[in-house]
């Protein structure tokens, strides 16, 4: 995945919302990241730091909540944790599975600094 592009989009949205809401200083940005998105949390944190340098968001912290993947096999209904978008069912080895969680990628909230 392209963490820098994602980080820049996080910064863009957080800045827009903060200005709309009259927030003068952003303390933290919360994002939800599914483990199937292929995003490497460390790389995203690093990219975010670079993306917000000398910007309105400077010093804001990125908080990543990593969401585990889950899937259900359409053949035998076994629920399991898939390794990718395309995984074999551990019980019957079918590949026809429905992914429930793990594809999430969204900005959940921003937190202002005390009194700002």
């Amino acid at each position: 995945m392209h963490e820098l592009g994602i980080a820049m989009r996080i910064a863009e949205i957080a800045t827009r919302v903060a200005i709309q809401e009259g927030v003068k200083k952003v303390h933290a940005v919360h994002v939800e990241v599914g483990e199937l998105t292929g995003i490497v949390p460390d790389a995203l944190l690093f990219s975010f730091e670079s993306a917000i340098k000398k910007s309105f968001l400077e010093n804001a912290r990125l908080k990543i909540n990593l969401i585990p993947a889950s899937a259900k096999c359409n053949t035998c209904q076994t629920v399991f944790r898939p390794e990718g978008f395309f995984s074999f069912c551990p019980a019957c080895e079918a590949v026809d599975c429905e992914i429930f969680t793990g594809k999430e990628l969204f900005i959940k909230s921003i937190v202002s600094e005390n009194g700002k």
Partner: protein, 278 residues
């Protein structure tokens, strides 16, 4: 370089031709009000302020945002989908190996629906405009995308082509992807219906060998059935393999060049278009 499949996207020259059409049509096109690529749409209109535990003077506020962060291609695909939905245009992404019969199939579909539906085509090929020439000979409006060293169409180039085509409302858009059973599966173009074509000369084992492609398609067309008696292709085995990979997939067997099975396809297409509008 394309980071998904390693094909050389940036170094190559993706070229989008000019629309080709025998009888230029005058169409009224609504201005494009969809957001620019890279923008994101809120998943929900939710915005709740709530105090957050804090020390010191004044409270910190947590402001709920809940906004999707799409990757570049997904953002462009979402924009395409919005653009097409606004105009009630039904779109198909047709994929399959080189030579499986995609272009012949599109030509026959255009001929079968002449006078009933306005059909427009985006032709993806690595080089040249041979396929676009075949489509334009039917009278349908077509635009050629040449990907150069790229091995798949992406949502951004398709978005540009969609706008060049000046599609009228309620028309049908065919996107013929690059002949390839691997990379095109990974790129959402913003289409409504994804079709993979498998010709009997390729072998009945292809669904399991190129599983992501067959897994992601809503329908599989088994083409060139007129050649079944000449090749070692087990139709039942192929259908079993397809069901193993995608139990919900619709399967139609046909011979686009000879015409058998085309009626089933046209009936299904009409049904899908109807369903998309209700």
């Amino acid at each position: 370089m394309c980071q998904t499949c390693g094909c050389d996207e940036k170094g190559s020259m993706v070229t989008i031709g000019k629309p080709v059409h025998f009888q230029p049509q005058k169409q009224e096109i609504k201005p494009d009000k969809s957001p620019k690529p890279g923008s994101t749409q809120p998943m929900a209109g939710l915005r709740i302020d709530r105090p957050v535990e804090s020390k010191g003077s004044g409270d910190a506020r947590e402001i709920e945002v809940v906004e999707n962060l799409l990757g570049d291609n997904d953002a462009a695909a979402a924009e395409n989908r919005r653009f097409l939905n606004d105009r009630k245009i039904f779109s198909l992404n047709l994929m399959g190996s080189p030579g499986c019969g995609k272009t012949t199939f599109i030509v026959k579909t255009i001929e079968a629906l002449k006078g009933e539906l306005d059909i427009f085509v985006i032709e993806g090929d690595q080089f040249g405009s041979l396929d676009a020439d075949r489509i334009s000979a039917t009278g349908a409006k077509v635009i050629q995308i040449n990907t150069g060293n790229g091995c798949h169409l992406d949502a951004r180039s398709v978005g540009k082509a969609i706008k060049e085509l000046e599609l009228p409302e309620n028309s049908l858009l065919f996107i013929e992807n690059i002949g390839n059973l691997v990379c095109p599966a990974l790129f959402d173009l913003g289409e409504h219906f994804r079709i993979v074509m498998l010709s009997v000369t390729e072998g009945d084992d292809k669904p399991v060998k190129y599983a992501p492609m067959f897994h992601g398609a809503a329908m599989c067309l088994i083409n060139k059935t007129d050649l079944l008696e000449h090749v070692d292709f087990d139709l039942e085995k192929a259908q079993d393999n397809l069901r193993k990979i995608n139990s919900k997939q619709k399967i139609i067997t046909l011979s686009a060049s000879r015409g058998s099975g085309m009626k089933d396809w046209i009936a299904l297409l009409r049904k899908e278009i109807q369903a998309s509008k209700s």
